[in-house]
């Protein structure tokens, strides 16, 4: 910018030929200064001009400069009164910056509003037009004049502005005096304008600087107020600008602890490596994650790095980086993710639960209906649907049944909703929609309350009572039948008891009769024996010739009497034995004895018969046969019977008696084997029956009562043993007696 002084001097040397826009100074009389006329005056004038210019040098204030200039006007040009007005930047009025020769409040209050378009002063300012107002001669003259501190005095108006530039004026100079316009004034306004212009420009410049400074500090404050670190780096990654938060992360003074400085160094490395990557150059702006260390406590900080390349033609390209702390954000986002996952799981579980519940509800055969708090159905299973929903192709009657069902159920639920009961059991008379058959159901309803105790739903389970009623009916019938049966059983039982009593009495009577029979038999045998005794005795005496010898034919006849008498005695004895066994009056008398001794004893007793039969009787008795414990008398009776039978039914050959011990069974077997007539297989069981001889004819060939084997079998059983037979007709028989070695009591 060219120096204002140099311009002033140049202007002064050039004789300015300033003209208005219209090219003439209309209405303003020219005032010429006398200094132009003589060389002395010329020298004085130059001196005065230099004095003014010197006065301007060092004055930077508008007021100062204006007062100096107006004073110079008064002293050099003899202008006794003058006022200078300037429009400050951004103002819409002209304000007084300097006066000369004028006093009073009118001067200090004087100003010109540029919006007052009717004011001639405003017109002069706007059009850069010089004006002259002579002293008024009439009221109309006065009316046309603007209100000024000059009041009714004449005055000139000169616009102030830079000549040569198509710029607006910035002020007005008002000078009093009716004299014609002095030529010196042009030079003056020119120089003065330039001075004021210079001051005004400097002021504007200073204002701009101040404003810029304020804005910059405001910008810094704003940047510092941002809690995210903000950085400006140049193309080489050097830090140019950093806000307070960034400084704590990326700078550390020498006094800081080693740990903190280390953290800062690491942060710088991490940042520059992040910024130097090609991604920035290619995309211009990027977002990425940057992991830094908190120098204060060493904790990890996660930032989102937002870098933008700035192109500046003067300062070269740089990178603006904004770091957004997302540590908490990430934690929060992880938490959100976690919660979302949990929610998903819960949702899946809830769905599975709900599916399962539906499955369960549907699988229940009983109808289930869930109603909300308003009584509207919110869920029902398939059996319930059959009752309460109208099927697609339902007949009118079916629809009516369903509607009736619905009405009955609704009234039940309504009753449930208004009652205070938590549960309610009732019976509803429904109908089967398919058949219209009456279907009484038992309804069990339960309220479901929220955790605040508000009613949320009512669950009702319906149970078909038809089966139960049917069952109850059947049960009743069954019970009746059972009662009937019981009565019959009781009657029968009473009958049986009566019969039992009868039987018991009969048993007693029988027992008594049996005892009487036994007693009778015993008495009878005694009564039989007594005469028989006499008969046998006398026969024996006759045969012995006690009363004299008899003739041989008599002896033979006496012999017949004797043998028949003995047979009769045997029969009596055997009947007596059987009756004693049956009456239980044949007690066991146990002793220990040797079987070979007993067999020999029996053999010697039967020796006369053996001799008569001319049969060989062979004994096969081991010498070391241990003694047995049994009833000797009864065993002897059995052996006696078996041996005499063998002798009786054998005509030639022999009889063998053998004994043997069976250690395993702890028994002893005694066999009597003959070579006699034998017994047919079919008859082998019958021979042990009472009064049984195979030849049952009255004229049978063999004597005997037929009671012998029957008695033997009974005796063997009494002793805990048994008798068996093996036989072949014509070849012989073997009777085997088996006895326990230690007989029972």
């Amino acid at each position: 910018m060219p120096s204002p002084h140099a311009a002033l001097l140049a202007v002064g040397a050039q004789r300015p030929a300033r003209k208005g826009r219209n090219g003439s100074y209309t209405g303003v009389p020219r005032v010429r200064v006398e200094v132009e006329e003589g060389p002395d005056d010329q020298g004085q004038l130059i001196a005065a001009r230099l004095r003014l210019l010197e006065g301007f040098v060092g004055r930077a204030e508008l007021t100062d400069s204006a007062n100096l200039a107006l004073q110079w006007l008064g002293e050099v040009l003899g202008i006794s009164q003058s006022i200078c007005l300037v429009r400050p930047p951004d103002e819409t009025s002209l304000f007084v910056i300097g006066t000369y020769g004028l006093t009073g409040s009118a001067v200090s209050r004087f100003s010109v509003s540029l919006e007052d378009w009717g004011n001639p002063l405003v017109s002069a300012f706007a059009n850069r037009k010089e004006l002259f107002f002579p002293a008024p001669h009439s009221a109309s003259d006065r009316k046309r004049r603007p209100s000024t501190p000059f009041e009714d005095s004449a005055f000139h108006v000169l616009p102030l502005g830079i000549s040569g530039f198509a710029e607006d004026a910035f002020g007005l100079l008002l000078v009093g005096g009716s004299t014609s316009f002095q030529p010196q004034l042009h030079w003056f306004t020119n120089v003065f304008s330039q001075k004021l212009d210079q001051i005004l420009r400097q002021q504007t410049l200073a204002d701009g600087d101040r404003k810029q400074g304020r804005e910059r500090s405001l910008l810094y404050n704003i940047i510092n107020a941002v809690t995210d670190p903000i950085l400006l780096t140049d193309a080489e990654g050097r830090l140019l600008i950093a806000n307070a938060r960034a400084l704590t992360l990326f700078t550390a003074s020498e006094e800081e602890s080693e740990g903190r400085r280390g953290a800062v160094r690491m942060n710088n490395m991490l940042l520059s490596s992040a910024l130097s990557s090609k991604a920035i150059e290619e995309t211009g702006a990027t977002r990425r994650e940057l992991l830094l260390v908190n120098p204060v406590d060493g904790s990890d900080l996660v930032f989102e790095l937002l870098s933008t390349v700035t192109e500046d033609s003067r300062q070269g390209s740089g990178v603006v980086s904004i770091l957004r702390n997302v540590t908490d954000l990430r934690r929060a986002s992880e938490e959100i993710e976690d919660n979302y996952r949990k929610m998903r799981i819960a949702e899946v579980q809830a769905r599975a639960e709900s599916d399962r519940l539906n499955l369960i509800i549907d699988s229940v055969a009983d109808p289930i209906v869930v109603t909300d708090a308003a009584g509207a159905t919110s869920l029902m299973n398939e059996p319930a649907e059959r009752l309460f929903t109208i099927p697609v192709e339902a007949s009118e009657i079916e629809q009516r049944w369903v509607q009736a069902n619905d009405a009955h159920f609704s009234s039940f639920i309504a009753g449930m909703l208004v009652s205070a009961d938590q549960r309610r059991v009732g019976e509803i008379g429904l109908s089967d929609p398919k058949t219209g058959e009456a279907m009484p159901v038992e309804a069990i309803a339960g309220k479901i309350l929220s955790e605040h105790g508000e009613l949320t739903a009512v669950v009702t389970i319906l149970h078909d009572r038809r089966e139960a009623i049917e069952k109850a009916l059947l049960y009743e019938q069954l019970k009746q039948a059972s009662d009937e049966l019981e009565r019959k059983i009781q009657a029968a039982t009473a009958d049986i008891a009566q019969q039992n009593e009868l039987l018991r009495r009969q048993a007693i009577e029988l027992e008594q009769a049996s005892a009487l029979k036994s007693q009778f038999l015993a008495n009878m045998s005694h009564e039989f024996r007594t005469p028989l005794n006499a008969m046998l005795g006398y026969t024996s005496m006759l045969l012995q010739g006690v009363a004299g010898e008899c003739e041989p034919p008599v002896k033979r006849q006496l012999g017949r009497i004797e043998s028949n008498g003995r047979h009769l005695l045997t029969i009596i004895n055997e009947i007596l034995d059987i009756s004693r066994i049956e009456a239980g009056r044949m007690p066991l008398q146990l002793s220990t004895f040797r079987i070979p001794d007993l067999v020999n004893e029996v053999k010697s007793e039967l020796e006369p018969i053996i001799m008569r039969s001319k049969l060989n009787v062979t004994l096969q008795l081991p010498k070391d046969l241990a003694p047995i414990s049994s009833d000797r008398q009864k065993v002897k009776q059995i052996i006696l019977n078996l041996l005499s039978n063998a002798l009786k039914f054998t005509h030639h050959g022999g009889v063998t008696i053998a004994a043997r011990r069976n250690l395993a069974e702890r028994t002893l077997t005694l066999s009597v084997t003959d070579s006699g007539i034998g017994i047919a297989n079919t008859d082998q069981d019958r021979i042990f029956e009472d009064f049984r001889q195979l030849d049952n004819s009255p004229t049978r060939a063999y004597g005997g009562t037929g009671l012998g084997l029957s008695i033997c079998r009974r005796l063997a059983q009494m002793l805990g043993g048994r008798i068996s037979v093996q036989s072949q007709v014509g070849k012989g028989s073997t009777f085997v007696l088996t006895l326990p070695i230690k007989g029972r009591k």
């Binding site: 006499a534 005795g537 024996s540 005496m541 006690v546 047979h567 005695l569 045997t570 004895n573 007793e605």
Partner: protein, 145 residues
């Protein structure tokens, strides 16, 4: 006593006259002196009066039965040494036992042939100091035919 008198004396107690007469006749024939009694009471009197060498006592007797008579005989100092042979037609178990308890020295079941009875008496009289004879079943000879 057997030595003192040539014929040993037998007191035969039986209420059945045919049997008494038969045994009496055979005993006389066999060389015994026979005293008879028809009941227990009479038997006690005869035993004291005649001092027999042996008493044949039927058990079923009128007035006083054989068991009671035997008990009294064995309780009497004068008669207690005389052997008593029970003679009965009762073959039921317990009879012989009851007879032994009453003090009988031997037991013979009727029917008993006269010669068998004599053999039994001789056995007791000849036996060492009147040993008790073994009771015998009467049916042994009936088994054969």
């Amino acid at each position: 006593m057997t030595n003192k008198l040539q014929r040993p004396r037998v007191l035969l107690v039986d209420d059945y006259p045919d049997a008494r007469e038969m045994y009496s006749e055979y005993l006389e024939f066999s060389g015994f002196d026979v005293v008879e009694a028809g009941n227990g009471m009479e038997a006690l009197q005869r035993a004291v009066d005649t001092a027999p060498d042996i008493i044949l006592m039927d058990l079923s007797l009128p007035v006083m039965d054989g068991w009671e008579a035997t008990r009294r005989l064995k309780a009497d100092q004068r008669t207690k040494a005389i052997p008593v042979v029970a003679l009965t037609g009762h073959a039921l178990a317990g009879i012989s036992e009851g007879a032994k308890q009453a003090g009988c020295d031997a037991f013979v079941t009727k029917p008993c042939l006269p010669e068998d009875l004599v053999r039994e008496i001789r056995k007791i009289l000849d036996g060492p100091s009147s040993s008790i004879a073994k009771p015998r079943r009467s049916g042994k000879h009936a088994k054969t035919s």
